[in-house]
């Protein structure tokens, strides 16, 4: 028996307003994400994949539609509550690692947990645990510019999962990586989905990566076509 959906989005619409012209980016998009499942979204550039990801990640608000997380309508929440949800329930991995260059690997990974109110000791302990699982414990005290591309992206994943989120949203996580590192990153995400029962949504151009996911959603012109 399938678990109930972790996240449900219904009839999402979104448009940009630039220089007086309105551009529709998403048209009536509905999607469900389930725990422990890796879902990929593929489509040509400009079809609205990343926009959909940001809306589901509560980084932006749709013009209309509904988004429910654990059966709670999150669009009715104010900015403060949505910020808390992002901290506790969601994790982001972007094409670029976006690590804070002034902080060490350990400090970067511990950041979300420190924001969640945990003590420095507890946050660092969990950060070391997560880094250890990703094979990066020996890099804890280094700074981001001293790591390889693959290592940087794995640190970004560690940061995304430290608060044990229910959902990881990854926007082209392997976009800047070579084949070997891309496989490593995909492997990490898959392992997390299975072992931690986390739902993972990946936006990607990489068809090989997409097809290795549990579910593939195809988009074109702001709509889901398959």
């Amino acid at each position: 028996m399938k678990h109930p959906p972790l996240l449900q989005a219904k009839n999402l619409k979104y448009s940009f307003n630039e220089t007086g012209t309105s551009t529709n980016v998403l048209n009536d998009v509905s999607i469900e994400l389930f725990p422990g499942e890796i879902t990929s979204i593929v489509g040509p550039s400009g079809c609205g994949k990343s926009t959909l990801l940001y809306l589901l990640g509560l980084l932006d608000r749709p013009d209309s539609g509904e988004i429910s997380l654990n059966e709670k309508d999150v669009l009715k929440c104010d900015d403060k509550k949505r910020t808390i949800l992002r901290n506790h329930k969601l994790g982001f991995v972007f094409q670029f690692h976006f690590l804070i260059k002034e902080l060490s690997v350990l400090d970067n990974v511990a950041l979300p947990m420190r924001k969640a109110g945990k003590s420095k000791t507890a946050a660092y302990e969990k950060a070391r645990d997560v880094l250890g699982k990703l094979g990066l414990l020996d890099k804890s005290n280094r700074f981001p510019h001293k790591l390889s591309g693959g290592e940087q992206q794995r640190v970004a994943i560690a940061r995304a999962i430290i608060n044990s989120p229910s959902l990881i949203l990854a926007d082209e996580p392997t976009g800047n990586l070579d084949t070997e590192n891309s496989k490593k990153v995909h492997s990490v995400l898959s392992k997390l989905a299975i072992e931690e029962n986390i739902s993972v949504l990946i936006v990607t151009h990489n068809l090989e990566l997409a097809q290795s996911c549990d579910r593939v959603i195809k988009m074109r012109d702001g709509r889901i076509i398959e």
Binding site: S50, L59, T83, I84, F92, F98, P112
Partner: protein
């Protein structure tokens, strides 16, 4: 950021120092004035005044009157000093009353004579309305107090006529001549007084002038000299004698000091303003440089306030350190300046820089610095809080 902090420190320090200096000279001048000519001078009596408008309210509780001084006629001097004294004594704010008979005479020394203005006083009364005792630079006030035929002369007069304590001098004019003994030499620092004024006993002055019962004016001291204008107006209205407060008497000099204080405050405030602009500049650039980091932090669950708080805290730290160090250096600078030797004679007498220690100088400096730093910090902090993470991340990718 260090330069901005230095700017805040210097701005506060200089503000405190310049205000201490300018208000110091002003305060010293006021002390000198009050110590020589008193808080209020009550003199000539008004006769009928044309152009008087008087209205009384219907219930009789309020009265309005307007008198034109230009049409006023005066009777010179104080005709009934005892009555006036008793009336003045009923004012609670008045702490000292001295009757003075003033006139002109000529002092004849051994080789030359010199025109002077004499003031006949009762020493006991006059010591309560002036600093005469502290102004003595030679002789003893006790000697003057017990000898009705003694005289106190201004130091410039003493220099001109080469007078020493104990010398005899002849005063000519009035009803004849008087031979008086030099009991003391005073210096007020006000050159117009030191080169013209002498003090003799009131009884001696009356005999000299042939006015046995009259006086020229009353000089009064107040509990709070700042209340002099309103009290002078009341005295003038009730007693019908011209009453002039020290503020009115010295308006020109007081306006000069006020202008000096304000202009120095404006000048030094510009240092604080520039420092505030420096802080704004640094923070504004920091917000731009950290826009991406702020967007990522927002995606991790940091709130808008968290993004703003980084800059607000930095601004507060700069303000706190600036206030602490600025106040300290302001205090130190004020002290060192007060030790600088500076000889001034003319409108007052001093041999060193005069400063005024006032906590309000520090409060004003801190308030100004706070306004500039808060504005300089708040604007970029607010901008940091308004960063839209999705838009920034999208643009970065």
């Amino acid at each position: 950021m260090a330069m901005s902090l230095i700017g805040i420190v210097l701005g506060i320090a200089f503000f405190v120092i310049t205000q201490a200096q300018t208000s110091g000279f002003e305060a010293f001048f006021i002390r000198t004035i009050l110590g020589t000519n008193g808080a209020i001078k009550i003199s000539d009596r008004f006769q009928d005044m044309d152009g008087t408008v008087s209205k009384v309210s219907k219930d009789g509780n309020f009265q309005f009157f307007f008198r034109s001084r230009e049409e006023a006629q005066y009777t010179e001097g104080i005709r009934f000093p005892d009555e006036i004294r008793n009336a003045l004594a009923s004012y609670q704010d008045i702490t000292g009353i001295s009757e003075v008979l003033e006139g002109t005479a000529e002092l004849a020394g051994s080789s030359r004579s010199f025109p002077v203005i004499f003031q006949g006083i009762r020493y006991h009364d006059h010591s309560q309305v002036s600093e005469l005792n502290n102004q003595l630079i030679a002789g003893a006030i006790v000697d003057f107090a017990k000898d009705p035929m003694s005289i106190l002369v201004g130091n410039r007069i003493a220099e001109r006529l080469m007078l020493k304590i104990g010398d005899r001098i002849v005063m000519k004019g009035g009803t004849g001549t008087l031979q008086l003994r030099i009991a003391g030499v005073f210096e007020t620092g006000v050159s117009q007084i030191d080169k013209k004024r002498i003090y003799i006993h009131l009884s001696t002055a009356r005999e000299f002038k042939g006015e046995r019962f009259a006086g020229s004016f009353f000089q009064v001291a107040l509990d709070n000299p700042d209340k002099a204008p309103e009290l002078a107006a009341q005295i003038q209205y009730h007693l019908g004698h011209r009453s002039v407060s020290w503020q009115e008497r010295e308006k020109v000099w007081l306006d000069v000091f006020k202008a000096l204080r304000i202009s120095s405050a404006i000048t030094v405030s510009s240092i604080l303003l520039l420092s505030g602009l420096g802080i704004f500049n640094v923070f504004a650039i920091m917000v731009i440089e950290k826009t991406r980091d702020i967007a990522i932090l927002r995606s991790m669950g940091f709130s808008r306030f968290d993004a703003s708080a980084v800059f607000l805290w930095q601004g507060l730290i700069i303000l706190f350190l600036g206030v602490l160090l600025g106040s300290f250096f302001g205090f130190l600078g004020t002290y060192f300046i007060s030790e600088i030797p500076l000889r001034i004679r003319g409108i007052f007498s001093t041999d060193s820089f005069v400063v005024n220690w006032d906590v309000f100088h520090y409060l004003w400096a801190i308030s100004l610095a706070s306004v500039f730093v808060v504005i300089a910090t708040w604007v970029p902090a607010r901008r940091a809080g308004k960063i839209q993470p999705a838009k920034i991340i999208r643009e970065t990718l």
